[in-house]
Symmetry: C2
Subunit: 245 residues, 2 copies
């Protein structure tokens, strides 16, 4: 397995990410083969979708102001968090954890003010599974190879410190590797039967992209065989089945 | 960044893992360089430490029997879980999540019955940070290179389905990459300031080792620069700072 980071030009609203990735691949003379996976950090997907919001334009509701007071956060950012969320999971001093409209449980609904210009914040991409599919189809059409695409973010988590990679969009690969029914070296049934492949890929690439802030927002992963039809949504544990909610 | 999986012979109690890894590297003519990281799945560390328990020898206490009834689990396994834990975090039908003696929050105290002979179960390695250090020192002494060693397991997690890699032991590398004070592409302070490097490494290798059950219990990672003095314990979020406990 090999991971090659790609440097891209600064991305702006309306940019065609697939086209830009194809140009960079051509420039550095890197050929994609069947089963290769292209990982794209969510920052540039959001930027290409124009998901930057000027905080000056945000008018917080009473509810947002109240939560901002309680959490000591900017009421305009809290307003955006509420707009981007379908449920508040947990709040406290300087943190708000919600379930986003797409179902991801994370801090601040994934809203980020790093790597964007002063006075603006960046929302998560719209429908990231669809965005991954679009990028995949365009690249496949041009190259005639079957590839996978993962759109990654990095989230904190309970019990452990530090952020890890998380797949928020995916197309063309198995995202949750279901090994139920397989046997181990001794012919016994496997206990750990599902592997979050797309999250492991996102974490692997996190080591190369440095959380997207090194100007390496894309990476190519070679040497894996996870061709499939999974989506990032397959990795979401439903609230009713979650013992920690 | 490149990951190369290594096939090892079956490991038994008393085996010198560093020596065996060095032999395999020599056989396949793979040279380690400074900053390379050797990842070892916990299964073989446990086996080399003789951490297999014959269930016939386990006598459950009243407490274990009670919890076994409530969770519909084998009382002998519940007894071992309690012995290996310092706190019960959450229990329910067929699951017990505890904090282990080493501080890891996971299901069944990491006790596993796959990849071991029938009638036995495998406990987590004793003092995995120390075990990683031992392996690192022996390999470094022989090769004269500075390497990192990570001992990995795979855990489930709240909010998301499927298991991901987790570092339970580490030596010779930065495990938690603290980026506080660094700035982004626009000179703004980074928001996501700590990256769980060793967990990302464990997840990356999970894709190659297939959760340790493919007979590939060791991997070499080349191309990263995380030389440091971190330990896996650095990645544990203290209970008092954990909003989900």
């Amino acid at each position: 397995m090999e991971i090659i980071g790609l440097k891209l030009p600064m991305i702006k609203e309306g940019d065609d990410l697939a086209q830009i990735i194809l140009s960079v691949l051509e420039n550095i003379d890197l050929a994609l083969e069947d089963d290769d996976i292209v990982l794209v950090t969510e920052k540039i997907v959001s930027k290409s979708q124009g998901r930057l919001v000027d905080l000056e334009t945000v008018v917080p509701t009473v509810e947002a102001k109240k939560l901002a007071d309680a959490t000591e956060k900017d009421p305009r950012i809290v307003e955006l968090i509420l707009q981007e969320s379908r449920e508040i999971v947990l709040t406290g001093p300087n943190f708000i954890i919600t379930e986003t409209l797409d179902g991801f449980v994370c801090a601040n609904a994934g809203i980020d003010s790093s790597n964007v210009v002063e006075g603006k914040v960046k929302l998560l991409p719209l429908d990231p599974d669809r965005a991954a599919e679009d990028i995949r189809r365009k690249i496949e059409k041009t190259l005639g190879k079957h590839i996978g695409v993962v759109i990654s973010d990095s989230f904190g988590r309970p019990f452990r410190l530090g952020s890890v990679g998380v797949a928020i969009g995916a197309s063309g690969l198995t995202t949750l590797w279901d090994r139920r029914g397989e046997t181990d070296l001794y012919g016994r049934t496997l206990e750990s039967t599902r592997v979050a492949v797309a999250d492991c890929i996102a974490s692997a690439v996190n080591l190369v992209t440095g959380d997207g802030s090194e100007g390496i927002p894309v990476a190519v992963i070679k040497g894996l065989k996870f061709t499939g039809t999974g989506r990032a949504l397959d990795l979401i544990r439903e609230k009713e089945e979650d013992k920690f909610r």
